[in-house]
């Protein structure tokens, strides 16, 4: 047990938490911004998967990791555009579009993978390029902080930057206010002169962008190859975190952090001889219990009020 605590309180553990946290944070923020504007995006998983593949294909085609990242973002945005067209222009239920897009990407990525590599499992045979690991000069020397802010993958820094930008957008700009209004009450927002559709289109595009970055992170940093269904439920955890955090960005971020802590602990546990299948479900049980507690307390409050 003391061994366990020694691992938990080490710098390497902190750095693992960050590594696990980044894709989850992108996923939950992607779900957050979309549902803030009243347009639930449950295609996060599918968008991440698609972008993860296109990051590999893109960097292989162009032999540049940055262009690969751009292509991955393009793929993610294309998925977001489909989601948007179907829901806003065609009046389809966003949940149904999300389910369709997720199933589509889990087989379509295999289709593309096979076309380009003649392999249905991994992209190992494609020599793709990954983004560099960044060492920040001064922070590199400071204990604890260096585990978090230095020696991480490039997209980790993009993640920090986008979280700041997102917070500014949501809390400090008129657009963020309009998004909240569109999400709270569509008709009231329309009456107040807000172009609800336009606000939602912007929100879905940002959501697609964030999910795409999360997907690209998986293949240009975390790993250097694409494997079938490699997102492995990260998008769904993001959606769960959003469901718990609601309209509070901080709430969503904290929930996401707790999940990544769970996952990092799971990774540590896997060193010991324990049933890994059961350990792996701890984060999901955590989410489930969280949702139950949240709903029960909301229920109690509504009964009182």
């Amino acid at each position: 047990m003391s061994e366990f605590f020694r691992v938990i309180f080490s710098e390497e553990f902190l750095s693992t938490v960050v590594r696990v946290l980044v894709p989850l944070l992108f996923a939950s923020m992607s779900a957050y911004i979309a549902s803030l504007a009243g347009m639930p995006n449950i295609a996060v998983e599918g968008i991440m998967l698609m972008s993860a593949l296109f990051a590999v294909l893109g960097s292989y085609w162009t032999q540049s990791a940055w262009l690969g990242l751009l292509i991955a973002i393009g793929a993610g945005l294309a998925m977001a555009v489909i989601l948007m067209l179907c829901t806003i222009k065609m009046g389809t239920n966003p949940i149904l579009v999300g389910i369709a897009l997720n199933t589509f990407s889990s087989s379509f990525t295999v289709f593309l993978l096979y076309l380009f590599t003649q392999n249905k499992g991994t992209s190992a045979s494609l020599p793709s390029v990954v983004l560099p690991i960044v060492h920040v000069p001064i922070i590199e020397k400071i204990p604890v902080l260096r585990a978090i802010f230095s020696g991480q993958y490039t997209i980790t820094y993009i993640c920090i930057l986008s979280m700041i930008l997102l917070a500014v957008l949501v809390y400090k700009t008129p657009l963020g206010m309009r998004m909240k209004a569109a999400g709270l009450d569509e008709r009231a927002a329309k009456t107040a002169g807000i172009n609800v559709n336009r606000v939602r289109i912007i929100a879905v595009l940002i959501s697609g962008l964030l999910a795409a970055l999360g997907g690209a992170y998986m293949t240009t940093g975390y790993l250097s190859i694409f494997t079938k269904n490699m997102i492995a439920g990260r998008g769904w955890i993001g959606i769960a975190a959003q469901a718990m955090g609601g309209t509070s960005m901080l709430g969503v971020a904290i929930t996401t952090f707790v999940f990544s802590l769970f996952q990092a602990i799971t990774n540590v546990f896997s060193l010991y001889d324990l049933p890994s299948e059961l350990i792996n479900i701890i984060p999901y049980i955590g989410v489930l219990l969280g949702i139950i507690l949240f709903s029960v307390s909301t229920y109690r409050r509504s009964k009182k009020g």
């Binding site: 949940i95 149904l96 369709a100 199933t103 589509f104 076309l115 769904w236 299948e277 049980i285």
Partner: protein, 356 residues
């Protein structure tokens, strides 16, 4: 009573036109993809469309692969119709499959009672398991989408652990159960194919759910609640027991579906990931607009194309996953409310003017 004139803009006719157009667009997109990816797109395309009819065995494959889709499609359409976006059937297919495999590996009974137990027990347990998200939704209004997704992952973990710990075949290289007992497997009913009694059960299930939905009080309540939950509540329907019942029935259907699939096609349990059949069921339900008969037709159509694509992929470099393009296009176009709406409105307006 005057006989109503047939009109393309009428409800049923319009839906038919819309569906046919969606199918044509989906096939056209597939053809374009084939043209981009393989050398002889025309003959590949023809193989894909006619392949299943060339041999009895191929056609049998179509019937085999539609069975689990019919069951999961029915289960999802019931949930969707009640206005519940629960995707838990995916996890039910896994955990129900594990339970079914455990029973199928025990030696008892004869070739009638063994499969009966191996189908009914997982079905009952699956029904009860579905009550978890159902109760949380009915009582505390917990988001059923999130709870069911979390339960999917939990069922996968627990099921995999169970297989590895208690039901692992020692004579097999990867994680799988031992071979099912001979008495548990379902017999083939069409010579030259591997079609089992499962297809009959699927058709029976479709008919039962159809009758339940359109000819009984319960079905009326389900349809009303789906259309307008508030109306249903104010008119005195008990949402709690309705939600629970719908969840139980759909879990039961899922349990039957996975058991029939395992006892028909598989000789041992070898799923190490979620099988995807539950999510596909959601797509079936969407394409069928949550109509039971529609689920049967759509499951047949998609399985037909799937087998066609498999036959085609043997002779070309195009993988069978090309079918995902057809499915996605169909799902999105058919569930789009506004697809062709402008055209229909013009048509209706014209007809209206003619009658003035």
């Amino acid at each position: 009573m005057t006989k109503r004139k047939f009109s393309l803009a009428g409800d049923t006719a319009f839906e038919t036109v819309k569906t046919i157009l969606a199918i044509l667009i989906a096939l056209a997109i597939t053809f374009c993809v084939l043209a981009l990816t393989c050398e002889d797109p025309v003959s590949s395309f023809i193989t894909m469309l006619t392949g299943p009819l060339t041999k009895m065995r191929y056609f049998g494959n179509v019937l085999e692969s539609m069975v689990p889709l019919v069951f999961s499609g029915l289960a999802c359409s019931l949930l969707f119709r009640t206005g519940l976006f629960n995707l838990g059937i995916e996890g039910i297919y896994y955990i129900g499959g594990v339970i079914c495999s455990y029973i199928a590996c025990q030696a008892f009974g004869n070739s009638f009672t063994h499969p009966l137990v191996a189908i009914l027990v997982p079905a009952l347990i699956s029904g009860l398991l579905m009550l978890i998200p159902g109760y949380l939704k009915a009582k505390f209004n917990a988001n059923e989408l999130v709870t069911s997704l979390m339960l999917n992952s939990i069922y996968l973990g627990v099921g995999l652990w169970f297989i590895k710990t208690y039901l692992r075949a020692t004579d097999y290289s990867s994680t799988a159960s031992p071979l099912f007992e001979k008495s548990a497997t379902l017999p083939y009913i069409i010579p030259g194919t591997r079609v089992t009694i499962g297809i009959v059960l699927a058709v029976v299930a479709v008919l039962l759910i159809y009758i339940m939905l359109f000819k009984t009080r319960l079905g009326y309540q389900i349809r009303m609640t789906g259309l307008n939950p508030k109306f249903a509540r104010y008119s005195g329907m008990n949402a709690m027991s309705l939600f629970l019942l719908v969840h139980f029935i759909s879990g039961f259907l899922g349990g039957v579906g996975t058991s029939v699939e395992l006892l028909s096609i598989y000789s041992r349990f070898s799923w190490v990931a979620l099988p995807g059949l539950g999510f596909n069921g959601a797509l079936m339900a969407m394409m069928a607009r949550n109509n039971p008969i529609g689920v049967l037709v759509v499951a047949f159509g998609i399985s037909y194309l799937q087998i066609g694509a498999e036959i085609m992929s043997r002779s070309t470099t195009v993988p069978v996953e090309v079918i995902s393009i057809v499915t996605a296009t169909l799902v999105l176009l058919i569930s789009a409310q506004y697809f062709l709406r402008g055209w229909r409105e013009k048509k209706l307006l014209k007809e209206g003017l003619l009658h003035v």
